[in-house]
């Protein structure tokens, strides 16, 4: 052909592309201040230029950047140059970081830019030396992701643990001891009551022992097992008594979690069974809508609505039955709010395992003469058990971690998640907050990893059951009626609550002056609207890195083999499992002073959103990549495309739907988040949910309802738009990546 020239790649090897980041590192070091005074991010203060810092150490950054620059332009052997670049980049990075940590100077723009550039240099080095079997883009990505996980997940959690045992700079267990012994944490024997709580707990232990013994007798157990059973039953009985009669955050949280997990799991099972086997199509359709509720709603909005319904001036309690009671404040209210909030989550998990049931199994068992009850007991139940256990444990974790509901409805009792906040924000004791945080974190992580260990990988990835072939027998009529009434009750309650938010936003003063007004919306427009806009902006800005980082991690974990892959997996899982309040206190402790000073800014809020919501995008990415034949990427690679080009031109177009989904979910989750960011807001950086919560606490219920309504409606719109988009696109890309 006329213009034929072989597409040569040789010239790419004469020098290394690392010269660009190396040069950037050098220029950024020289042109911008390496440190900064306090919170002035964009300062050009000459006092923080490298030569004004009076330290030779910091110049090592420039030295190594120059070394990398020279090495990348010298005609060396590729692998030798790679090793040199790795060493230069790594040591440059290390000297910069160690100087910052050693002096405690907050990083400046120069440090930020040059250290980032040095990470890229190291990535080039690792790739060219062949230590990471991929190109510089993947190698740099691996480094960045690992550093992010260390800096924004592991480091803050480590600081929490350290703050629990380091008080005023020295190691001590006194704080742990005093916190765990305080009546706020555990309060077994209450001297101000007539009864003896411990005696009551012992009574439960006795009841437990008797029940255990009866059960053991019915099973004709041998003596050793008999004794063991009785012992366990006694302990369980005492524990139940402890949860009921004990005061303090630990027994309260345990009790609420147990109640909520039990009821939510059962209700979730009811929904799942109805969804699969009811005779009524509209029930099935409305279940789809129910599964959307927790996504679009700030987690505590139902608590707030419960006050409207059942509070001192509630529609039901006061106006219907003329009761003015505080009963809703306390364990009853928190449990109710959490049950309503977490049942959809339990439903989604159980739906997966219900969907994996095979109708053929049931038919087989029926042909063997089993009646329906026997069928359920011997076939369906054992198959459902893992899904139920999974839903139960997930709900326990959610309940422990829930912050908004107990804060609003907690009443006179403390909860672990709220105590973290109270210790920090009300009692001004970061060490105590850290102790509470450590306790909560370890409880949640133990359950989380135990669950993963027992139930395997499929448990926390949203379970997508394969569509079952064949059809299930309808439920027995009596049973269906029973399940439908549970469903109807739940739906009625939820609808009522949502309606009350909407209605409450239009009345003068809830329960006292019920004339309709637009006053609340006028108030909202003046005070709330700027905050709402700011929240939307931060949420949108953070959704982009959250979605892309999540996808990148999914790509690295699924498609690349590298040293530290399980570390990346573990780190992202940790950010998923850690309760928001713990992460919140961790961020405020870790990023309030020292080299990584970031608090009191939009940046820290955006970072919190990114790492909180990234796991959703990871899941979407992992599921999407599983649908794509890896040889597509290999074909692109052999056609000379670097992995960044392959990502951009092959994977992103093919995975655009899950990517947009990740983006939207990250945005919506950020808009409705509260537990972590409540620690991070500052006067100039207020968020919609935090403001809403504040209004509820101040009794500005009308305004709060207006804000809540606007949040719910706008999030619903966003989600519906997404659904519309994916449905339309799905039709066009059928067979993609098959």
């Amino acid at each position: 052909m006329a213009t034929a020239h072989a597409v040569s790649t040789r010239r790419d090897l004469r020098f290394s592309g690392a010269w660009i980041p190396a040069l950037i590192a050098g220029i950024a070091f020289l042109a911008l201040p390496f440190g900064r005074p306090d919170r002035a991010f964009f300062t050009l203060d000459p006092a923080f230029r490298p030569w004004a810092l009076g330290s030779l150490w910091v110049w090592l950054v420039l030295a190594f950047a120059l070394l990398a620059l020279i090495a990348s332009l010298l005609p060396l052997r590729v692998t030798a140059r790679g090793e040199l670049l790795t060493v230069a980049g790594g040591l440059g990075l290390l000297s910069g970081v160690s100087w910052l940590m050693g002096t405690g100077t907050p990083f400046g723009m120069g440090a930020l830019l040059s250290l980032i550039a040095l990470v890229v240099v190291t990535g080039y080095g690792l790739s060219e030396s062949g230590r990471i079997q991929s190109d510089a883009f993947v190698a740099s990505s691996i480094l960045f992701v690992s550093l992010f996980i260390i800096l924004f997940i592991l480091f803050p959690l480590f600081i929490v643990l350290r703050t629990a045992v380091f008080v005023d700079g020295s190691f001590t267990l006194n704080k742990v001891w005093s916190t765990l012994n305080s009546p706020l944490f555990i309060f077994a024997e209450n001297p101000y009551t007539e009864q003896s709580e411990l005696a009551l707990m012992s009574r439960f232990a006795v009841i437990g022992t008797v029940l255990g013994a009866l059960w053991a007798l019915s099973r004709r157990l041998k003596f050793a097992r008999f004794a063991l059973t009785c012992g366990v039953a006694a302990a369980v009985g005492f524990f139940i008594g402890f949860m009921i009669y004990g005061r303090g955050a630990l027994p309260t949280s345990l009790l609420v979690a147990t109640i909520v997990a039990t009821v939510s799991t059962l209700t979730g099972l009811v929904f799942a069974l109805l969804g699969q086997r009811t005779r009524f199509g509209f029930v099935q359709r409305s279940l789809g809508a129910i599964s959307l509720l927790p996504i679009i709603t700030p987690p505590f909005i139902l608590a707030f609505a419960l006050i409207f319904m059942f509070g001192r001036r509630g529609i039901v309690t006061y106006q219907l039955f003329d009761i003015s009671s505080n009963a809703i404040f306390g364990i009853v209210g928190v449990s109710l709010a959490q049950i309503l909030a977490f049942t959809p989550i339990a439903y989604l998990v159980i739906r997966g395992s219900v969907a994996s049931l095979d109708p053929a199994l049931e038919e087989a068992s029926q042909t063997l003469g089993a009646d329906r009850w026997t069928l359920f007991r011997t076939v369906t139940w054992p198959l459902l058990r893992p899904g139920l256990a999974n839903a139960f444990l997930l709900t326990v974790i959610e309940s422990f971690a829930d912050f908004g509901n107990p804060l609003i409805l907690g009443g006179d009792r403390g909860y672990l998640a709220t105590e973290v906040f109270s210790a920090f924000a009300a009692r001004f004791d970061p060490n105590e907050a850290a102790v509470y945080g450590s306790v909560l974190l370890s409880m949640v992580l133990v359950i989380f990893f135990a669950q993963r260990w027992w139930l395997g990988r499929s448990s926390f990835v949203t379970v997508t059951g394969k569509p079952s072939s064949g059809s299930f027998a309808h439920l027995p009529r009596v049973m269906e009626g029973l399940l439908l009434s549970v469903f109807a009750l739940w739906t009625l309650l939820v609808l009522m609550l949502y309606f009350s938010i909407l209605y409450g936003s239009f009345v003068q003063l809830w329960g006292i002056n019920n004339t309709l007004t637009l006053k609340n919306y006028r108030d909202f427009m003046t005070i709330g609207w700027p905050v709402f806009l700011y929240t939307a902006r931060v949420a949108a800005v953070s959704a982009i890195p959250a979605a892309f980082l999540g996808f990148l991690i999914a790509y690295l974990v699924v498609r690349q083999r590298f040293f530290g892959r399980s570390f990346v997996e573990f780190g992202s899982m940790l950010s998923f499992a850690t309760p928001g309040t713990v992460m919140g206190v961790a961020y405020i402790l870790a990023f309030n002073v020292g080299p990584w000073l970031l608090t009191a800014s939009s940046v820290i809020i955006a970072i919190a959103f990114v790492f909180r919501n990234m796991p959703v995008a990871i899941r979407g990415g992992v599921a999407g990549l599983a649908q794509i034949d890896p040889s597509l990427e290999e074909a692109s690679t052999t056609l000379r495309a670097s992995s960044s080009v392959t990502l951009r031109r092959i994977l992103v177009p093919l995975l655009i739907i899950p990517l947009i989904g990740g983006l939207i979910f990250a945005f919506v989750r950020a808009m409705t988040a509260i537990s972590q960011v409540i620690f991070l807001v500052s006067p100039g950086n207020m968020l919609a949910t935090v403001l809403l919560l504040g209004w509820v606490e101040q009794g500005q219920l009308g305004r709060a309802a207006a804000m809540g309504s606007i949040l719910i409606v706008s999030m619903l719109t966003v989600i519906l738009l997404l659904m519309l988009l994916t449905r339309r696109r799905d039709a066009g890309v059928v067979g993609v990546g098959a």
Partner: protein, 359 residues
Amino acid sequence: MTSSPIRAAPVRLEDVTKLFSKEVVAVDQVDLTVEPGTLVTLLGPSGCGKTTTLRMIAGLERATSGRIFIDDEEVTRLPANLRDVTMVFQSYALFPHMNVFENVAYGLQVARQPKEAIRSQTLEALAMVGLEGLENRATNALSGGQQQRVALARALVMQPKVLLFDEPLSNLDAKLRKRVREDIRDLQKRLGITSVYVTHDQEEALAISDEIVVMNLGRIVQRGTPHELYSRPATRFVADFIGSASFLAGHYDGKAVTIGGFSFPHQQETPAGEVTVMIRPEAIRLSTDRAGLETTVRSSSYLGAVTDFVFSSPHGDIAATIPGEGLTPLLRDDTAYLTFRSAGIHLLPANDRHKNPDS
């Protein structure tokens, strides 16, 4: 592309080993040279290491030890996208979101070639594989054979130093397979492009290759032209894997082979003594008199042009393909006397008990 022939480049593997874990040796100390402009086939049963070897040449896998050279330049640790190598995949691996033209043009676009050059080269490549006029089709609107041609054009348009094929025909039906493989061979010869071709189909390997490398358990068992491998297999495994053969214990005295009481002349440079005699089915003739190896007919299947027999003898079963029906129709349990044409006979060491894992 005919006006600017691809500069053919040699490929060399030196002592290349690939471990997938400490226990799993995929490729075991392989030495291999592919002469410029030739098509070399890696042939072997699944799991023999042929695909891994190919992927190491492509750069999609990295050798655990050893060195790989393309065009006398070491590329062992060079990433795949920096090697002048392209590949045709078993699954075609066409980009589903691009049409035919965009698929073929992809590599040129990535290399930022001028737009006009991309257009003319792409169209030329498509013409070369016989897909003119289909450039605006969606790839899933093409037949399997056409899809594989797009994949071929996509690989050729880059004018690579080495073209790799990973079982490119295994997703096609038998008839199409024959045609596409002839086209591939045609193009490869015309362009003189160094090619490495992986297959587990011996017929495909025989038809297409300048040279076949037989692999088993991660090692090269034998290499040679198709004719060499067929007529002079080094081991029973090769003999069994390429074509079919019967193996009988015999004795060689330097001039003649004796099986049981029957001797026939044969010349081969192998030490005299006990041997395993490999007999190709087509080397067998029915003797009209009683001069021959005495066997009984165990089964026969009439296939039109030929008849397949299995004869049993005290020295082992013998499979034979005999043109027509022979002189007299043979029935089960009839006695038959066999003679052997020297061209289809090859002597192997007597202790070669290696079995074909596929059989």
